[in-house]
Symmetry: C2
Subunit: 136 residues, 2 copies
């Protein structure tokens, strides 16, 4: 964990929901989609395979816990999971709830249009539900 | 494994390279990017978290073996990994080699433009290198 510093673009574009065993779990500041980002708290990692084998298993486990919770909370048609990193190289995994007819359905969310800000109440409700689901 | 049948769109848009412990490893018929697809040979699965815990670990392990091999073979700037499934619901994981300045860099590959066919020699060379890297 030593030496880990969150990339300033991730810091700016998302807010922390909770710290998991491996990751900082963050919510994207984009109300168009319930969009979570898992950032392993490890320094100098760009690709998943650069993590230790144990951390790779932890990341897979935490990603799927979060994906399952997001599906249950939102009733999403499909969960999209991706680790791209073409712009921000610090390893981060996207977990996004998608719905038929959403802003870019069935295309990907990355690089599409502009983020729309959350209403505070809507963001707080989603955040509270996620914390509850992931703590039980 | 019983009951697994490959989705006809995956069958049509990609060719099998090898069978791994869990997956059918396939090469997309799109020469714009070295683009691999791992399809777990399990029936009726749409989301990664619907796999058994062991299969989830196997999928993570095989995905990262493939990602590492693809990075080494191609010298890619960045590997993109994603499980979207908005169109084809049968669970499949994309592993794509991306290069600065490629056809949609730094945007995602999904839904962008039209696939370009491989020259046979180029496809066969990539396939042979992958089989060798993943067998050693």
């Amino acid at each position: 964990m030593s030496g880990f510093v969150l990339d300033p673009r991730l810091q700016n574009d998302s807010v922390s929901i909770m710290v998991t065993g491996l990751c900082d779990l963050r919510l994207s500041k984009d109300a168009r989609w319930p969009w979570l980002i898992l950032v392993p708290r490890r320094a100098g990692i760009t690709e998943i395979f650069e993590l230790t084998p144990l951390d790779q298993v932890l990341l897979a486990f935490e990603t799927e816990l979060v994906a399952k919770a997001l599906k249950e909370i939102t009733g999403a048609t499909k969960i999209n999971v991706g680790a791209l990193g073409n712009i921000v190289r610090q390893l981060h995994v996207h977990v996004i709830a998608r719905f038929e007819g959403d802003a870019n359905w069935p295309g990907p969310v990355w690089g599409f249009g502009r983020a729309e800000p959350y209403e505070d109440a809507k963001r707080d409700e989603l955040t509270a539900k996620l914390r509850e689901a992931l703590s039980s």
